[in-house]
């Protein structure tokens, strides 16, 4: 039953992914100029034979539909051509070296958002309209209404420049950088047993991570709060209380588990939005990840690179949604039946 549900959802992805690649391909065709001329602009002197060879490789002499087919075939193999702005290196190589940085920042932001949201949501739901609930609700409203790039700048001004507590750009103190194993600086530092490097990497994550997490924490907190309030009113929770179970067990075990089911969907949706916020936050904090790569590529009119990064973000978003649907089905049997 569950297997069939997931298979079905996975099959539904195919038209979505085709749609995504179609939009990416054609928006980039709106751009002026011939990609090969751009690529060669970097490479210097080159023969006509080489130009023709490249043109044939990327199918630029063929009809647009065929070009789209070729683009798909190359993209599936991870071949997005040569970057215009990175001395003619392959797009996939440039992208690959940025992935760990973005992964680390996104996971960090995700963790703070979830921990904060669940904690604040649960505490708020215990005393609706109490002092904590009112404060948290106002905080959540601000989190939803604040543009991420501006929050990032305010954090830089306050915690980076005024108080000088935290670094405002980069990933780690370069003198401390650990030997790359996973590419995630915090993990690599721990593997090397280097406490100072771990601390430095962690400090560099705090401000961008907080700015990225804010809207997601706000949305998820509101969801946890309202579904907890709903669940706490239900008979089985009252019954658990009447049985004389300690309040921590009633809230933590009986109520929270059910309250989290509707939260899974909003977490998935918000994680997708976290990815969008990522581009902006990395730009604000000069954080060397995929998002900043994309924004720099836009400024340099490096279309193959923009295309590749946008496709990576879009596919991750689609897969995250699939993952959330699957998880939702595990947690809530009614979803499977529907």
């Amino acid at each position: 039953m569950w297997g069939r549900f997931v298979t079905q959802r996975t099959l539904q992805l195919i038209p979505v992914l085709i749609g995504v690649s179609f939009v990416v391909f054609f928006t980039m065709h709106l751009t002026p100029g011939d990609p090969i001329e751009h690529m060669l602009g970097q490479a210097g002197r080159i023969t006509q034979a080489q130009i023709d060879e490249l043109r044939a490789h990327y199918g630029l002499d063929r009809p647009l539909v065929v070009q789209y087919g070729l683009f798909l075939r190359h993209a599936v193999r991870g071949d997005f051509g040569l970057s215009y702005s990175h001395q003619g290196r392959s797009v996939s190589a440039v992208v690959a070296e940025r992935i760990p940085a973005t992964l680390e920042l996104t996971l960090f932001a995700f963790l703070i958002a979830i921990v904060l949201a669940i904690a604040a949501g649960v505490v708020s739901s215990l005393r609706p309209q109490g002092a904590f609930d009112r404060t948290a609700t106002v905080g959540a409203l601000l989190g939803i209404s604040m543009p991420g790039f501006w929050l990032g700048i305010v954090l830089i001004i306050v915690f980076g420049l005024r108080l000088q507590w935290l670094p405002i750009s980069g990933r780690i103190d370069l003198a401390l950088a650990p030997q790359p194993v996973t590419g995630l600086n915090t993990v690599d530092a721990l593997l090397a047993g280097n406490g100072a490097a771990f601390l430095s990497a962690l400090k560099h994550l705090v401000l961008p991570g907080a700015a990225m997490a804010a809207p997601m924490a706000a949305m998820v907190m509101r969801m946890v709060r309202s579904s907890m309030i709903g669940v706490l009113e239900q008979d089985y929770v009252q019954f658990a209380r009447a049985k004389g179970l300690p309040e921590t067990s009633v809230v933590g075990k009986h109520a929270l588990r059910n309250a989290l089911i509707p939260t899974v969907n909003i977490v998935a949706l918000q994680t997708g939005l976290l990815l969008s916020g990522n581009m902006i936050i990395e730009t604000v904090f000069q954080y060397p990840g995929l998002g900043k790569l994309a924004v720099d590529a836009i400024a340099a009119a490096d279309y193959p690179l923009v295309q590749a990064v946008v496709l990576i973000y879009a596919v991750s978003y689609v897969l995250l949604n699939l993952g959330a649907d699957a998880l939702h089905a595990v947690l809530d049997p009614r979803v499977r039946a529907a």
Binding site: Q12, L13, P15, V16, G19, V20, V23, V24, T27, M28, L30, T31, L141, L142, G143, I144, S145, M146, P147, G148, F149, W150, I153, V154, I156, I157, L161, P215, A218, M219, L269, G272, L273, L275, S276, G277, M279, I280, T283, V284, A294, V295, I298, A299, Y303, V306, Q307, V310, Y313, A314, Y317, V318, N321
Partner: protein
């Protein structure tokens, strides 16, 4: 960027009367103040040429990065100070309200008309049209909105028409879903059956009978969508691919101030505060509206 509400959340059946809704909305003091503040922002934008002390692009080379008036080095000549080209910040912020509200309204109206129209047709006639639209909508729902807006703007460069289309690209889907669901429910309702029995035409039933009943949730959605659109536009402008640089926009102004955060924090801070206040008021008003329309709140 935050997407405050999904279609399903506002899909509550609207059984209440209009005067009841209005009374409930008016009794929500926060929502009323927020709504008035949004109108205030709109008025500031409209009256910008009268209100602004300076031309927003006029440079004052003698007063570059001037501090706001309460600062020891500030003066009342430039109340909120000036930017790195010596342009008056307050005047630029006043003009910036214009483009934010203009784009918010245009994009929301465009997505509202397209989405509601298609949704009503799909919900009323069902059949192949509904089937095809459902596929399209499922696909669009899987699109990360801001990333595609970014891809489109990266390809076309900053210009207003492309910006409106990029921001509207996916937004109509929410209106489509609400309208389709409500029409689907309404077409079986007694008043529609009665109208059909009396020989009313499909356009008459759709526009005169059903439309007035599905308007309230559409209005709530429109308000909350406007908040999302304003933040998305500011984000694209911040990245330099939104509003063309010749038009003063809050997102662009924050980006302009980024290089000076250490010496002149106000350049990036005040325009962002404008975005925060406007979006906050729009959200508060939209949530007040939603509560007034939600029958469960009516106790």
């Amino acid at each position: 960027m935050a997407q405050p509400v999904t279609g399903d959340q506002v899909l509550e059946p609207v059984a209440a009367t209009t005067p009841g809704m209005v009374r409930l909305l008016l009794s929500n003091r926060v929502a009323v103040v927020a709504g008035l503040a949004v109108l205030g922002f709109a008025a500031i934008g409209l009256l910008a040429p009268v209100l602004a002390a300076y031309d927003p692009s006029a440079q004052h080379p003698e007063a570059i990065r001037a501090a706001p008036f309460w600062h020891p080095e500030g003066s009342t000549r430039f109340l909120l100070g000036t930017d790195s080209l010596g342009r008056d910040l307050l005047s630029r912020i006043i003009y910036g309200a214009r483009i934010s509200i203009f784009l918010g309204v245009v994009v929301v109206l465009l997505t509202l008309v397209v989405g509601t129209g298609l949704g009503m047709l799909a919900g009323y006639f069902r059949g192949w049209f509904d089937a095809v639209m459902s596929r399209v909508v499922d696909t669009l729902l899987a699109f990360p909105f801001l990333i595609f807006a970014l891809a489109i703007m990266a390809a076309t460069g900053p210009n207003l028409v492309a910006l409106v289309l990029a921001l509207a690209f996916k937004g109509w889907v929410d209106f489509y879903r609400v309208a389709r669901g409500d029409v689907l429910a309404a077409r079986e309702a007694d008043y529609v059956t009665a109208a059909r029995g009396l020989g009313a035409s499909a356009p008459h039933i759709l526009f005169s009978e059903i439309l007035p009943n599905i308007i309230p949730p559409i209005i709530v959605l429109a308000t909350l969508r406007m908040a999302t659109i304003i933040i998305a536009e500011a984000s694209l402008s911040f990245l330099g691919i939104g509003v063309p640089p010749s038009i003063p926009a809050w997102g662009t102004m924050v980006a302009d101030g980024r290089a000076d955060v250490a010496s002149a924090w106000w350049i990036a801070t005040f325009p962002g505060l404008g975005i925060l206040l406007l979006v906050l008021c729009v959200n508060l008003f939209g949530e007040g509206l939603r509560d007034a329309l939600d029958p469960r709140m009516r106790k």
